[in-house]
């Protein structure tokens, strides 16, 4: 078994006296798409924040591509290949769709400050490359018609797609999706599932998915593992079928609507 692309070893996060994350072990193989579910407050987003460098672990190790990353700044981690979407969309509402995506491409500018003042051929080429890549990404999420619209004006569902495109703009190896289906109806969920699957296949990202929509999780993680978190601890980890029948998980979380959500 090759080294996992991401490994959390016995990680604990303390906020004051509260153990938001408690001795969590998690690993992800390159190219895998795994799910992370649990009730609100279970610590799922905190784990994302850990991986992206916004939060430091009180104890434990976080290994990415074999190397420790705890304490590195979020922008550094982005350049190492970690990218994410947010639970509450964090787009740049005043900027256009184009500019939002482009940011992921030029967050580390492709030329020096002085070159910015004098537009050298290199600077022009860099700008052109950005434009081309943004066009490609727009095509992936089917947002081309909206290219110059203000991001804040887009309907909610399209904003989610834009966030996805922006996260991909940084050419990540590890993509963290934080409740991408939040607020979506059944049709939109189906579209989202199709899009994430397609992106996963084509771009070969390693993906961790936090989601509350059970259909979405079970569908995307059909052949892959799901971690169940509760009160900061990993309750169970396994294939959808396994965790759906795990009594501890049922007791803590899945409960009543089993017949509607069970995977056959």
């Amino acid at each position: 078994m090759t080294d996992p692309i991401l490994a959390l070893k016995d990680v604990t996060v303390l906020f004051g006296g509260v153990r938001a994350v408690s001795n969590v072990n998690l690993s992800l193989q390159k190219g895998e798409l795994i799910g992370l579910i649990g009730p609100n407050g279970a610590g799922k987003t905190t784990i994302f924040n850990l991986i992206t460098g916004s939060v430091r672990p009180a104890s434990g190790e976080i290994l990415y591509k074999g190397g420790p990353i705890a304490g590195k700044s979020p922008d550094r981690l982005c350049h190492l290949g970690i990218s994410r979407t947010f639970q509450n969309i964090r787009l740049f509402p005043q900027m256009s769709v184009f500019e939002n995506i482009a940011l992921g491409l030029h967050s580390q500018p492709g030329y020096s400050v002085l070159e910015a003042f004098v537009r050298t051929p290199r600077a022009s080429r860099a700008e052109k490359a950005v434009k081309n890549r943004v066009d490609e990404l727009l095509a992936v999420v089917s947002l081309q018609p909206y290219i110059h619209q203000r991001a804040g004006n887009l309907p909610y569902g399209l904003q989610r797609r834009l966030e996805l495109a922006r996260a991909m703009a940084t050419s990540p190896d590890l993509l963290l999706l934080d409740e991408p289906a939040a607020g979506m109806n059944e049709d939109e969920c189906a579209e989202l599932v199709e899009m994430v699957n397609r992106i996963h296949m084509e771009m070969r990202y390693s993906i961790i998915l936090i989601e509350h929509h059970m259909n979405v999780v079970m569908e995307l993680c059909r052949n892959s593992r799901i971690y169940v978190l509760n009160l900061g601890e990993v309750l169970a980890c396994g294939l959808p079928g396994e965790i759906q029948n795990d009594p501890r998980v049922l007791a803590a979380y899945l409960g009543v609507r089993k017949s509607r959500n069970a995977v056959q």
């Binding site: 982005c78 992921g104 203000r150």
Partner: protein, 300 residues
């Protein structure tokens, strides 16, 4: 006419300084009330290097700017690090500008302390001012439309999200600060060589108020707005002398009113390009033609 000359030159100098504040406050979202200090540093350094070290005029201007820029990093680095809130930077710049003014007041010797720095030749004239303004405007436009400028805007709108997308917040802010202080320094230097005299009392908080006013009224995330506003805010008090005494009271009240009713200012978010012409043309087509074009095209 000499009088018009004066207004244009003083207006031009104000425009250059206001461009600096526009980059820092309008585009990067950092409140500064200390740019009078950077103007003072640039002015004194330029005059001093010209008079004492016989540095050529043009180079002296640049030297003034660079000196101001370098000093700005002393404030910027500690206050931008550790992701501290913008208040730290604001307080530090405010305190810094006052400290600089008081030091210059007491630095007798070549710079003359409170009596002022006299004997500076009046080298700034209309052509030179216009050239400097043109270069400054060109450079500022290049910067804000570049990837660096876009990063500044992202940091001002949502620094955390920008950081997640790979933007180095500290570096972005420091670059923006250096450039804005450089501009203020050059403007100060031009001012010194125009007035042929420098005194710390020329660089008071009211000057910082004027610069901030240019950006607040002219508009956030805009260059053309602050440029026009800076010029008008110089011309009007010159032409309407009685207004000079009242102007800061009016500005202060207008700051509050602007923030409540129209925080983007008059020409906020208006880039200096001809996209607005394209907008009108397309809106015209939309009204008269069957095409359904989406939204308001705006290009970076």
């Amino acid at each position: 006419m000499g009088y018009i000359n004066t207004i244009i030159i003083l207006g031009g100098i104000s425009v250059v300084a206001a461009l600096g504040v526009a980059i820092l406050t309008g585009y990067t979202g950092l409140f500064t009330f200390g740019h009078s200090g950077f103007m003072a540093l640039g002015a004194y350094m330029a005059a001093f290097s010209y008079m004492q070290w016989h540095i050529p005029f043009g180079i002296a201007l640049l030297l003034g700017g660079i000196f101001a820029g370098a000093c700005s990093l002393i404030i910027g680095y500690p206050t931008f690090r550790s992701n501290l809130t913008g208040d730290y930077f604001a307080i530090a710049t405010y305190g810094f500008a006052e400290a600089i003014r008081l030091i210059l007041n007491n630095l007798y010797g070549v710079t003359g302390g409170a009596y002022g720095f006299t004997g500076i030749p009046s080298l700034t004239n209309l052509p030179i001012t216009l050239v400097v303004v043109a270069i400054a405007l060109f450079g500022a436009h290049r910067f804000v439309t570049s990837q660096y400028g876009k990063n500044c805007v992202a940091v001002s709108q949502d620094a955390v999200a920008a950081q997640m997308m790979g933007v180095n917040i500290l570096k972005t802010k420091l670059i923006s600060l250096f450039i804005s202080a450089f501009y203020a320094g050059v403007a100060g230097a031009l001012f010194g060589f125009y007035m042929a005299y420098l005194s710390p009392s020329m660089f008071t908080l009211s000057r910082s108020s004027d610069l901030l006013a240019a950006v607040v009224f002219g508009g956030m995330q805009s260059l053309i707005g602050p440029v026009l506003a800076a010029f008008i805010l110089v011309a009007v008090p010159e032409l309407l002398r009685f207004f000079t005494e009242w102007r800061l009271i009016v500005y202060g009240a207008l700051f509050v009113i602007t923030m409540i009713f129209r925080p983007q200012g008059l020409l906020g978010y208006t880039e200096m390009n001809f996209a607005f012409l394209r907008n009108w043309y397309q809106k015209l087509l939309k009204k008269t033609g069957p095409e359904a074009l989406a939204g308001t095209p705006r290009e970076g």
